[in-house]
């Protein structure tokens, strides 16, 4: 094993640190190992950009996208990715070249890609970054610590029929509406791949607390164990409670057929933590099919939302077929309406008859 420690950290100053590494204390990095084939999910990798492909920018820890140039040095995390509109890849590093699977800074080996995508940006791994003990620095060492809030916040889940069905737009709008209604709102993105797009969208919407699985020590939840993701959910909901949030919106990435999301929705533990869901769908047929799938596991969404809600005609079709209300982005942003959605999640008592 070759590990170099002297004068090492200084040479990383010019490297671009990806958003996925945002929790890492850089002073911990004092060496580098060339055993890149041993990389596992969450390990920090120093790489050099070889050829620019589909991802032309790297999302930095500062929250902005940085244009990539050949020969750029980057610090990214080894990880898996599941994205039907982009790539599927696994946490495996080839010494000769690896693939930038996500612009948030996820490096691995692409297994398949959407037909619309160019080949991924290729990065030559220089080595795995190590700490003072010689161990490879891994994101799991930087997870939040467990909190024991006195009050448990109300929780609303946001699931979608597929990637790009409008989940993030809906979750951000609901966050904005609830915040303006006077709530302290937390948002937890519990599954997906490290990226700042959703994270920033929730901050922009006015969330008082935003976190994702990276804050629980994971670069991606694809191919992670369900129990580990359940623990991450507990951890991040606890953090949101510690931040005095009285309501938390939990976004599940991709669609309800995605393996981890599907398993989580069937988990008693998750259902106890997230008792109600809003369902984002791209069209009426997805609404019908999706609600059928959800009904099979005992979930009746509070409402439908997403891309569907842009179309009055599609909305009418979906409402007629499912009997569920359709919530537009504007409705979710309305404090009174968002508050009613939250209240409806915890109250089902019928009204009294008209007084005499």
């Amino acid at each position: 094993m070759n590990t170099y420690r002297s004068q090492f950290t200084a040479s990383l100053d010019g490297a671009k640190w990806a958003f996925s590494t945002r929790r890492v204390r850089r002073s911990d990095v004092v060496g580098i190992s060339d055993r890149v084939e041993e990389a596992r999910s969450g390990d920090l990798v120093l790489g050099r950009v070889e050829k620019i492909g589909s991802h032309k920018r790297l999302q930095l820890t500062s929250g902005r996208g940085s244009e990539l140039y050949p020969e750029d040095l980057v610090v990214v995390a080894c990880g898996d990715r599941y994205a039907p509109d982009q790539f599927e890849g696994i946490a495996r590093i080839d010494r000769r070249s690896a693939d930038l699977l996500a612009s948030g800074g996820v490096l691995g080996q692409m297994r398949q890609k959407n037909g619309k995508m160019a080949m991924p940006t290729s990065i030559v791994p220089v080595g795995l970054l190590t700490d003072a003990t010689g161990r490879v620095v891994n994101l799991s060492s930087y997870a939040e610590t467990a909190a024991q809030p006195s009050d448990r916040p109300a929780v609303i889940g946001l699931v979608g029929a597929s990637m790009n069905s409008g989940k993030t737009t809906a979750a951000a709008a609901l966050t904005n509406g609830l915040r303006r209604a006077g709530h302290r709102v937390g948002v937890v993105k519990i599954t997906g791949t490290a990226a700042f797009g959703d994270f920033n969208a929730y901050v922009d919407a006015g969330a008082h607390y935003v976190s994702d699985f990276v804050d629980a020590g994971m670069v991606s939840t694809y191919r992670q164990s369900i129990s580990e993701i359940e623990s991450a959910l507990d951890l991040l909901l606890g953090q949101a409670g510690q931040a005095n949030c009285d309501v938390v919106v939990v976004e599940f990435a991709d669609g309800i057929l995605q393996s981890e999301t599907a398993a989580l929705l069937r988990s008693d533990h998750v259902r106890e933590q997230v008792p109600n869901f809003v369902f984002a769908v791209p069209d009426a047929l997805s609404a019908i099919g999706g609600t059928t799938v959800l009904a099979e596991i005992g979930i009746e969404p509070l409402a439908l939302t997403g891309v569907l809600s842009l179309s009055p005609l599609a909305s009418a079709e979906a409402e007629a077929a499912t009997g569920l209300p359709i919530w537009t982005r504007d409705a979710l942003c309305d404090p009174a309406k968002a508050n009613a959605l939250l209240a409806g999640a915890t109250s089902t008592a019928p009204l009294c008859e008209v007084a005499a």
Binding site: A340, A343, A356
Partner: protein, 286 residues
């Protein structure tokens, strides 16, 4: 607080408090009058006092000033102007009076005038209409609700909105069901209703018609009694102990100044003990 005061118009200042007019910010902003005691209690919960259709926000501030000083509690009296919010009593009509108040409160928190998310909400006449409907939509923001001499009410029943909480025919997306969603939390609020003993005459401002008269009665006194009872019954039906009381003010008619002059109304609105527990509610006397 001092830095804030310097930027505001201060027409009346004493050793105990300042009454300040805060102009609206922007075309759709909400102006208000504020009573800011010189000494604010550490646990002071602000009172939002909403005017009737005469738009007497300044009157609310001045007549509640002494109690605000005595208790060290800020009083904010928003002014819903006629042009922007012609039907502010109904909250969700033109201009969205609810959103205007939420925005004002957020600005006041930023300026340091208000602390914390909760407040006591008081309204008289048209202001009482606003107050109870606001509390139905946003019960989590209200610590205590004082509903004075409303002309009519939204009942916690299945009549079509705005008389009740059911959706109106042909309205797929209505406000009644939204208020119904938060009804359980609303019914747990301490709610104090008052009305003048002589406020039993229908006048030009009393909304009337067969449906409303049958549901609520024909005058404010009857309507206050029926609404209080309906709220109490709705709470009981859900297994809650009602925390609603009705006080008929002896010797009083309708106007706020009249009620203040002939009763200890400011003590009901701003009680010594906070009055969130029904057992602590004092009976007002002339």
């Amino acid at each position: 607080m001092t830095a804030v005061l310097h930027q505001l118009e201060v027409p009346m200042r004493s050793k105990q408090s300042a009454i300040i007019h805060r102009p609206a910010r922007g075309r759709r902003g909400l102006a208000c009058w504020m009573v800011l005691p010189s000494r604010v209690a550490a646990d002071a919960v602000p009172l939002i006092a909403v005017h009737g259709i005469q738009r007497g926000a300044y009157e609310k501030a001045t007549l509640l000033r002494r109690r605000a000083e005595a208790l060290g509690r800020p009083v904010i009296a928003p002014l819903f102007d006629q042009e922007t919010w012609p039907h502010y009593q109904q909250l969700v009509r033109k201009g969205r009076a609810d959103l205007a108040l939420l925005a004002l409160l957020e600005e006041l928190r930023i300026e340091g005038v208000l602390q914390g998310p909760k407040f006591d909400l008081f309204g008289h006449s048209g202001g009482a209409q606003f107050a109870h409907r606001f509390a139905m939509l946003y019960p989590h923001l209200v610590r205590r609700l004082i509903v004075g001499a409303a002309g009519w009410y939204t009942f916690p029943d299945s009549a079509a909105f705005p008389l009740g909480l059911a959706a109106r025919p042909e309205q797929r997306d209505d406000w009644g069901p939204r208020m119904a969603a938060g009804l359980e939390r609303f019914l747990r609020l301490p709610i104090r209703v008052y009305v003048g003993e002589f406020d039993n005459q229908r006048d030009d401002n009393t909304r009337s018609g067969p449906e409303i008269d049958q549901q609520q009665g024909i005058d404010r006194l009857t309507r206050a009694k029926r609404w209080s009872r309906a709220v109490e019954e709705a709470a009981k039906a859900r297994g809650f102990t009602p925390n609603v009381s009705l006080q008929v003010l002896p010797g009083c008619a309708h106007h706020f100044s009249d009620c203040v002059a002939h009763s200890a109304l400011p003590h009901l609105v701003l009680p010594d003990n906070g009055d969130t527990d029904l057992s602590q509610t004092a009976t007002l006397k002339a």
